[in-house]
């Protein structure tokens, strides 16, 4: 069964450093999302992406964040200058045309020291 994959599974970085989290959505899916989950808290929407542009973004998704679909298969989330409070699990999700179901990847645990 097709699945969303994410790399790396765990990323440790120093505060102020740039990180890029990578996702490979399910092929033929058209809608892509990033969510984050701070330890012990609920899953929060960050951004949605369709047709090579951002569809919607949350308050969390400030100028430090950016997304890109560089090659038609990968979907990346970049954090330019990480802060301690960026430490969280980051989940990528994708959805097919006409479907309600978002399929989530296993997540990347980001630890900012």
């Amino acid at each position: 069964e097709p699945e969303v994959t994410q790399t790396p599974s765990h990323q440790v970085t120093q505060m102020g450093q740039e990180v890029i989290l990578r996702c490979v959505p399910i092929s033929n899916h058209l809608y892509f999302y990033w969510y984050r989950q701070i330890l012990g808290q609920k899953v929060e929407f960050l951004v949605s992406f369709y047709n090579n542009e951002i569809s919607e973004k949350s308050e969390i998704f400030d100028d430090q964040f950016s997304v890109e679909r560089p090659d038609g298969s990968n979907f990346t989330l970049k954090i330019r200058s990480t802060k301690l409070e960026d430490s969280a699990m980051y989940f990528c999700a994708s959805k097919g045309r006409g479907s309600d179901t978002q399929y989530f990847g296993p997540g990347t645990r980001l630890t900012v020291l």
């Binding site: 809608y31 999302y33 899953v43 929407f45 569809s55 309600d100 989530f104 296993p106 997540g107």
Partner: protein, 114 residues
């Protein structure tokens, strides 16, 4: 309002019992209500979902009951098993399409005792 509220915060059930998790929403524009199951270290996985044109949907041991007037929906797990021990999130969104972001509840940890 975009909030989705879950109750209880945690639940312990004996094997074979019925687990019931409730969810309430505020935004009447929501028209898709999924339940996600999450095991430690894994991403959320869709368990079952419902649209407001039906009041109940059953898939195996899992049933969603939906009350549109009360703006509430619940997940019932029949014959609960230790393998059902996980975190359960209710969520809601407004329709299919690119802007259908999911708004999640806080999640509830279910423990099924052998």
């Amino acid at each position: 309002q975009q909030q989705v509220k879950q109750s209880p915060q945690s639940l312990i059930v004996q094997k074979g019992g019925i687990s019931i998790i409730n969810c309430a929403y505020e935004n009447t524009a929501f028209d898709y209500f999924p339940w996600y199951q999450q095991f430690p270290g894994k991403g959320p996985a869709l368990l079952i979902a419902i649209r407001p044109d039906v009041s109940e949907k059953k898939e195996g041991r899992f049933t969603i009951s939906f009350n549109k007037s009360a703006k509430q929906f619940s997940l019932h797990i029949m014959d609960s098993q230790p393998g059902d021990s996980a975190t359960y999130f209710c969520a809601a969104s407004t329709g299919a399409g690119a802007n259908s972001k999911l708004t999640f509840g806080k999640g509830i940890t279910l423990s099924v005792r052998p």
